[in-house]
């Protein structure tokens, strides 16, 4: 028996009904047996895991890995997730799944050397969206002239430097670098919003 969809066993004062439930709230509900909360956790994690996985794995494989990680989390979160550190634990599982994916792929490649070309074709980037590219190029041209510090930091990043190395090179504090980057990002987004589609 539940009230407003939450089990009676759950202490209502832990949840502020006027705001969106946080991951922590959902976790508390799910641990007390709320299937709807469990579903919401799955949804929320899946979309975030997919985004993170796509940065490391191309194509549909990223979605599969994210789904796999979510399933593992749903199986184990009641028993294995450390209290108060759920996010770190969940992120660790995703990282392990990504690592497993790369291991499996290497094994597959060694077994079927001929299939590698097929894999590579699947892993290659989709054709770039020309419109996005045109807009971005136009805005970058403006930014390079208008915000030299941002352009300089971008350039160093593209040359492979990490933030701490860039700070040393530019002789600035990390906080200052993040301010430069986020200010540049805001200008870039403003410019991208203004760019008119042909």
């Amino acid at each position: 028996m539940t009230v407003r969809g939450f089990p009676l066993s759950y202490k209502a004062e832990h949840v502020n009904f006027n705001r969106e439930l946080t991951l922590e709230d959902l976790l508390t509900l799910a641990r007390s047996g709320d299937k709807a909360a469990e579903g919401k956790i799955f949804e929320r994690l899946l979309v975030r895991f997919t985004l993170i996985a796509k940065r490391r794995i191309d194509g549909d494989d990223a979605r599969d890995v994210a789904q796999d990680a979510c399933l593992t989390i749903l199986e184990k979160y009641r028993t294995e997730a450390p209290a108060g550190r759920f996010e770190a634990w969940a992120h660790g599982i995703l990282y392990n799944k990504i690592g497993n994916f790369y291991q499996r792929r290497e094994v597959r490649r060694s077994w079927h050397a001929g299939v590698v070309s097929g894999d590579a074709a699947q892993l290659s980037d989709p054709p770039p969206q020309q419109e996005l590219r045109r807009k971005l190029l136009g805005c970058i041209r403006k930014l390079v002239v208008g915000n030299r510090r941002y352009a300089r930091a971008l350039n160093l990043m593209f040359l492979g430097y990490k933030t701490n190395e860039i700070c040393v090179k530019l002789n600035i504090q990390p906080g200052h670098l993040y301010v430069i980057l986020n200010r540049g990002r805001r200008l870039l987004i403003n410019c991208l919003d203004k760019e008119v589609m042909p």
């Binding site: 969106e20 946080t22 991951l23 922590e24 994690l45 979309v47 975030r48 985004l51 993170i52 796509k54 940065r55 996010e87 770190a88 969940a90 992120h91 990282y95 980037d125 770039p128 969206q129 996005l132 590219r133 971005l136 190029l137 970058i140 041209r141 390079v144 002239v145 915000n147 030299r148 510090r149 352009a151 300089r152 971008l154 350039n155 990043m157 593209f158 430097y161 990490k162 933030t163 701490n164 860039i166 530019l170 906080g175 670098l177 993040y178 301010v179 980057l181 986020n182 540049g184 990002r185 870039l188 987004i189 991208l192």
Partner: protein
């Protein structure tokens, strides 16, 4: 409903560095863990992801940025001048454009001072000392251009703090006559200002008009020459 503010601004600051794949491994893990709970950052990363991917992978875009730091002689003169005067990598207060404004602000009053009415400002003066001599030789001075003369003269027999009427005339120009009343100082020495506009090369006579000459009963007269 999506949260519009970041739950942890300290982590939120890493947003763009993460999008550009510029964070160290530990910072990346920390930020991704933050992404799991923060809707604000997640939405931002998700919406920017297509551009972030292009930024990270597109050679033309990277080339555009790199080109901005290469030789810029192909740029128009105005833009090159703008970059030279307002370079981004220099602290704002030290940028040449700012320094030029500061220099102009400092130089303008000086320039105005040189061009304003000389009477309004303190100017250099030259001293012309006239003392009685037995030989009656005529003193001569060089007129420095634009400098007023301070004439210091002695009045034999005069009392300290006495007032005198002084008349200066040019011996070769009858129109030039400058008269002024002065009060002698404690040593019975008088000081008058002889304006530069009146002081032209030539011979001058300084006459102490109403001096109470108890000794001789004659007027004390000095003659002096001003050379160009």
């Amino acid at each position: 409903m999506t949260t519009t503010t970041c739950l942890d601004p300290r982590m939120g600051a890493l947003l763009h560095a993460y999008e550009l794949r510029g964070l160290s491994e530990s910072d990346t893990v920390a930020f991704e863990t933050h992404l799991l709970t923060c809707d604000c950052c997640f939405t931002a990363v998700q919406s920017f992801e297509p551009y972030a991917k292009l930024l990270a992978t597109d050679a033309a875009i990277q080339g555009e940025i790199r080109g901005g730091f290469a030789d810029n002689t192909s740029l128009p003169l105005g833009r090159r001048l703008g970059r030279a005067l307002w370079p981004d990598h220099v602290t704002p207060l030290l940028r040449p454009a700012v320094l030029m404004v500061v220099i102009l602000l400092l130089a303008y009053p000086a320039w105005r001072g040189l061009n304003e009415d000389p009477g309004l400002f303190v100017r250099a003066t030259q001293k012309i000392t006239l003392m009685p001599t037995r030989s009656g030789a005529v003193d001569s001075f060089t007129a420095s251009r634009g400098q007023d003369g301070i004439i210091v003269f002695g009045c034999p027999g005069a009392r300290p703090d006495q007032s005198c009427h002084i008349v200066i005339t040019a011996l070769d120009d009858a129109r030039m006559k400058y008269d002024v009343t002065v009060v002698l100082d404690a040593d019975a020495v008088g000081h008058i200002l002889f304006p530069a506009r009146l002081m032209r090369p030539g011979a001058y006579q300084l006459e102490i008009d109403d001096h109470n000459a108890a000794v001789s009963g004659e007027k004390q007269v000095y003659r002096f020459m001003v050379h160009p």
